[in-house]
């Protein structure tokens, strides 16, 4: 997966809010968030460099005001960036004309919003068909396609309802269906489940994972909920004051938090639920491989019973195809399970 080419590349992206931010940008470099605020500007995105790879699910995690929503809006050019560049599918999106930008959104991007962003005067069907209507598809085609995605998110039978007649969870299903109607390559989700009750949220996360499995899209998912991030992500980018503090796989973030700020999130996390055998895997380096291997996709917690009774000091770890990719030290895994001795 790491070999996949990047779909979105952000290089030194800055986004400042305030009058004349373009001119101020040069002065802002090197100043702290608070210093910039004293000058009358708000730093929403600060020197962010990251890649989103084809087919991966990148979660951007941060508390409110950390700039995560702005960053994703820069990627879709709902916001114009102040400095740096963003390349989407080989095109620098800041150089696109209005026409080209509209075309990009009509063909390649879908987005889901925290408070759903449904058009109140349109039925479920018309909301889902909206992007298709915008690009001028015939009404028969768009009805067909809209019904397909409505079924996909499990709302068949509700297509003639108006948004106000649906529950929050159902409304977000409409939002999801709408964002998928055009079969986008890139799927943005901006805190899609934050406005929902905890039980519904869990259900929607499962539903989301199912869709993801099925569709295999490149996904940028925003959340302020660290547990949600751990649960869903291939990689997590943690943001604070507009800057990315750490961007890595959940295993590595939990095992090696890069900064104190990240450590504050990971402290309370039940590590054994997050860390996979793959994450503890070290190169063979001449270790003799003996006995049956464990799957790299299992968490330490899932392996707990085996670990406790395991006589071997080193356990071979296999990938999904059954190839041995390295070994895991039993003690490392036990430390994670029981806490360091």
């Amino acid at each position: 997966m790491s070999a996949a080419e990047p779909v979105i590349t952000c290089r030194n992206v800055w986004k400042l809010f305030g009058a004349g931010a373009d001119r101020y940008l040069e002065m802002a470099r090197g100043k702290s968030f608070d210093q910039i605020r004293e000058d009358g500007y708000i730093t929403a995105v600060r020197d962010v460099t990251l890649e989103v790879r084809r087919g991966e699910l990148l979660v951007i995690m941060g508390l409110s005001g950390s700039g995560k929503s702005t960053l994703v809006r820069c990627m879709s050019r709902l916001n114009d960036i102040t400095g740096g560049e963003i390349i989407v599918d080989g095109q620098n999106i800041m150089t696109l004309s209005e026409r080209e930008l509209i075309e990009l959104r009509r063909r390649k991007m879908g987005m889901v919003f925290q408070s759903f962003g449904l058009l109140p005067h349109r039925t479920v069907l018309d909301n889902v068909a909206f992007p298709l209507e915008m690009r001028g598809q015939s009404s028969h085609d768009r009805r067909e396609r809209a019904m397909e995605v409505i079924k996909l998110v499990g709302l068949q039978g509700r297509e003639d309802y108006f948004p106000r007649e649906l529950s929050g969870g159902q409304q977000q299903r409409v939002g999801i269906a709408r964002s998928l109607a055009i079969e986008p390559d890139i799927w943005f989700l901006d805190e899609p489940f934050s406005a929902l009750d905890p039980l519904i949220r869990r259900e929607m996360q499962d539903e989301f994972l199912r869709l993801r499995e099925m569709l295999g899209k490149t996904i940028v998912f925003i959340t302020h909920d660290f547990d949600e991030a751990l649960r869903l992500a291939d990689r997590i980018a943690i943001m604070k004051d507009g800057a990315v503090e750490q961007c890595d796989t959940p295993d590595k973030i939990v095992l090696n938090p890069a900064t104190d700020y990240v450590a504050k999130f990971t402290e309370k996390v039940e590590k054994s639920r997050v860390v996979h055998a793959r994450g503890l895997c070290r190169p063979l380096n001449g270790h003799a491989v003996e006995g049956p291997s464990v799957s790299g996709d299992l968490t330490v917690l899932q392996l707990a019973r085996q670990l406790v009774n395991e006589p071997r000091e080193f356990l071979p770890v296999a990938d999904t195809q059954g190839q041995i990719i390295g070994v895991m030290r039993r003690q490392d895994a036990l430390d994670i399970l029981l806490g360091p001795a």
Binding site: S76, R105, P120, H121
Partner: protein
């Protein structure tokens, strides 16, 4: 973000020196005391200082009209408007113009009104709309009402479209909005005579001019509501539209306008109600219809018929208001799949069916077509007798004459003389002091400056008579409205119906408030004041109730748990928190009063309104505009002071 919060009061009143307001007030009082010894120059602006605004305006408008050829443009617009007006006139009351198929039988229109009522709000509205039509027809005022409605049918859609477009422009361009806002504020305070005369001069006399004046009068709220609605569209809905790849036009057409539906429909409601109010008033430029009839009847003191027309106007107002309000809250309903098309469009089909059916019936049954004289059930003369009888009743007569006597001799005339006696400078300084106290130097300059301009026009004395009428009426209205409002607000059982009555009363065209005034007190100052009092009490009560009821429940509970008695709760918690809202009611009362006092001109007042009315006859556009400007400036000055105070107070209290 609590740490970014700055003490608001400090920032807003930059350059505020506490003593200045008092100093200004002190000078004003000193000038007033020293009045007898002051040289004439300090009492009134001397003649040689009076600026010839009149000539300037006249010159400017002549230039626009003749030299720039604006008159040709407006005449062209007139021609278009006239075509539409003729068409609606033909359909509704059979004026012999294209398409020459009218008049539509009244039963057909009544049926359609009832079906629309049913569609928007069920049986009750169907009954209201149908019932109003039946009443109008039975009372023998169908043609009059249709004359009025034929103008509204053209003016309201025109005002809607112009208002919507201007609103969109103001939302798109902040520079345009910066110009638009003060213009609208002035338009909303200009007395209606100032709408009428330019309309007559630039557009043809008759329905066209009336229609133009109505359109202009109805535009401002539409512009404001459109801009407000568009600004309120949730950002995520906008982003969803953008991410769906909408072009700018698609965004406006499919995202912004539908999402702003509620506010736009509120604008439509206001357009309709203002159109009705203004159409009735266009009677002053000779437009036929309910207003003209009412004016003629009141002039000849035919109280019974006036009363009937009053009821008609009120019923039409309530019907239009309720229907358009029902439209605001009406949400689209979805049908189950497989519902056949005739079921989906059931109401439309019923409406068309009834319409055509009744047109056919009317060919054979004369009463279904129109009621002729002698068939109507008007009881004008009987009601007239009853009213006269009741008023001639010795007790009633004694009471009203005593009230008239006491009010006029001991209160109104002395008050008026006092206002006239005061030096102009004294009053200007008072307003400047009030302005300074609420908003610092800028407000002081605005409030005082506006009155100074009035002084420089040379119409000061007339203007002060207007101010006197406004204030005596508003003070009486406060004495009635505030206690009633407070009482009503304390009891939920009362406040609901009273609010409903207030809201309904606010939709009546102002003109009809004169009917009871003239009935009770005849034609004099007191009836003018009385009419304004009724008109102005309504917003005072309404906002008092609203202000008190909107005090957060926790605060009331906190006061109760602190052991406050009912009156302590009222005076220490509810009223202080309700004051900013009550101030809005006070402001509206003053604006209403300014509006009403001008209308009352035809009763024979001596103020600016009277002079304004005279300009109508003489086509003196320059003078008309100067007088209109005086009224607008005075109203704006009060408006600024009160609204500014209310706003700062709100922020200080931290209530929304």
């Amino acid at each position: 973000m609590a740490d970014t919060a700055v003490p608001l009061a400090k920032v807003e009143r930059a350059g505020f020196v506490p003593g200045v307001a008092y100093a200004l007030l002190a000078v004003a009082v000193l000038l007033a005391i020293a009045r007898p010894w002051l040289p004439e120059v300090l009492v009134r602006v001397p003649d040689w200082m009076i600026l010839p605004y009149e000539g300037w305006f006249q010159w400017f408008f002549d230039f626009l009209k003749d030299d720039l050829g604006l008159i040709h443009v407006t005449r062209a617009i007139s021609a278009v408007l006239e075509w539409f007006l003729d068409a609606t006139a033909n359909l509704l009351y059979g004026k012999s113009r294209w398409p020459n198929i009218g008049p539509i039988p009244w039963t057909a229109i009544a049926a359609v009104a009832a079906v629309i009522g049913y569609g928007l709000g069920g049986w009750r509205l169907a009954l209201l709309a149908g019932g109003t039509s039946v009443w109008v027809s039975l009372i023998g005022q169908w043609d009059l009402a249709m004359q009025t409605l034929s103008v509204i049918a053209v003016a309201a859609p025109a005002a809607f479209m112009i208002g919507l477009s201007l609103g969109i422009l103001a939302w798109k361009s902040s520079r345009f909005e910066a110009i638009m806002r003060p213009t609208l504020a002035v338009l909303q305070t200009l007395p209606f005579f100032t709408y009428l005369l330019p309309a007559v001069i630039f557009f043809k006399v008759g329905p066209t001019a009336g229609c133009v004046a109505t359109i202009v009068y109805a535009i401002p709220p539409m512009v404001l509501m459109t801009t407000l609605g568009l600004k309120k569209v949730p950002p995520e809905v906008v982003e969803a539209g953008l991410m769906s790849g909408s072009t700018r036009w698609q965004m406006l057409r499919h995202v912004y306008l539908p999402a702003a539906r509620t506010e736009i429909l509120v604008g439509v409601n206001q357009v309709i109600m203002l159109s009705l109010a203004m159409v009735v008033l266009t009677a002053f430029i000779g437009m036929p219809g309910l207003g003209a009839k009412l004016l003629a009847l009141m002039n000849s003191l035919k109280l019974g018929r006036s009363f009937e027309i009053g009821v008609t106007i009120v019923l039409i107002a309530i019907t239009l208001d309720r229907l358009s309000k029902a439209w605001i809250v009406k949400q689209p309903q979805h049908f189950m799949r497989g519902t056949p098309w005739w079921r989906r469009n059931q109401l439309l089909l019923v409406g068309i069916g009834l319409f055509i059916g009744l047109i056919i019936v009317a060919q054979f049954v004369q009463v279904a077509d129109q009621l002729t004289r002698g068939q109507d059930l008007s009881m004008g003369s009987e009601i007239d007798d009853i009213i006269r009888g009741a008023l001639a009743n010795p007790t009633v007569d004694a009471a009203t004459s005593w009230l008239r006597q006491v009010m006029i001799t001991y209160i109104l005339i002395p008050f008026r003389n006092a206002v006239l006696w005061l030096p102009s400078l004294s009053i200007i300084l008072c307003l400047a002091a009030a302005g300074y106290a609420v908003g610092g130097r800028r407000s002081a300059l605005l409030a005082g400056g506006f009155f100074a301009i009035v002084a420089l026009t040379g119409w000061w004395d007339r203007a002060m008579i207007t101010v006197y009428a406004v204030f005596s009426a508003v003070i009486i209205a406060m004495l009635i409205g505030l206690p009633l409002g407070i009482l009503a607000a304390r009891n939920k059982k009362w406040s609901e119906p009273i609010l409903l009555v207030c809201d309904t009363a606010q939709t009546f065209p102002s003109f009809i408030y004169l009917i009871p005034a003239i009935m009770l007190f005849g034609v004099n100052d007191l009836s003018v004041i009385f009419a304004i009092v009724i008109f102005a009490t309504v917003p005072l009560m309404r906002y008092t109730i609203e202000g008190i009821r909107n005090v957060p429940a926790e605060l009331i509970e906190a006061a109760e748990m602190s052991g406050a008695s009912r009156s302590q709760k009222l005076w220490k918690v509810q009223i202080p928190l309700a004051l900013p809202t009550m101030a809005i009611g006070f402001n509206q009362a003053i604006m209403f009063a300014f509006f009403m006092v001008i209308i009352a001109a035809f009763i024979g007042t001596q103020d600016l309104g009277q002079e304004l009315q005279k300009t109508l006859a003489g086509n003196q556009l320059g003078k008309n505009l100067v007088l209109g400007m005086c009224v607008a400036l005075m109203a704006l000055s009060f408006d600024h002071i009160i609204m500014r105070w209310s706003e700062t107070r709100r922020k200080a209290l931290g209530v929304a």
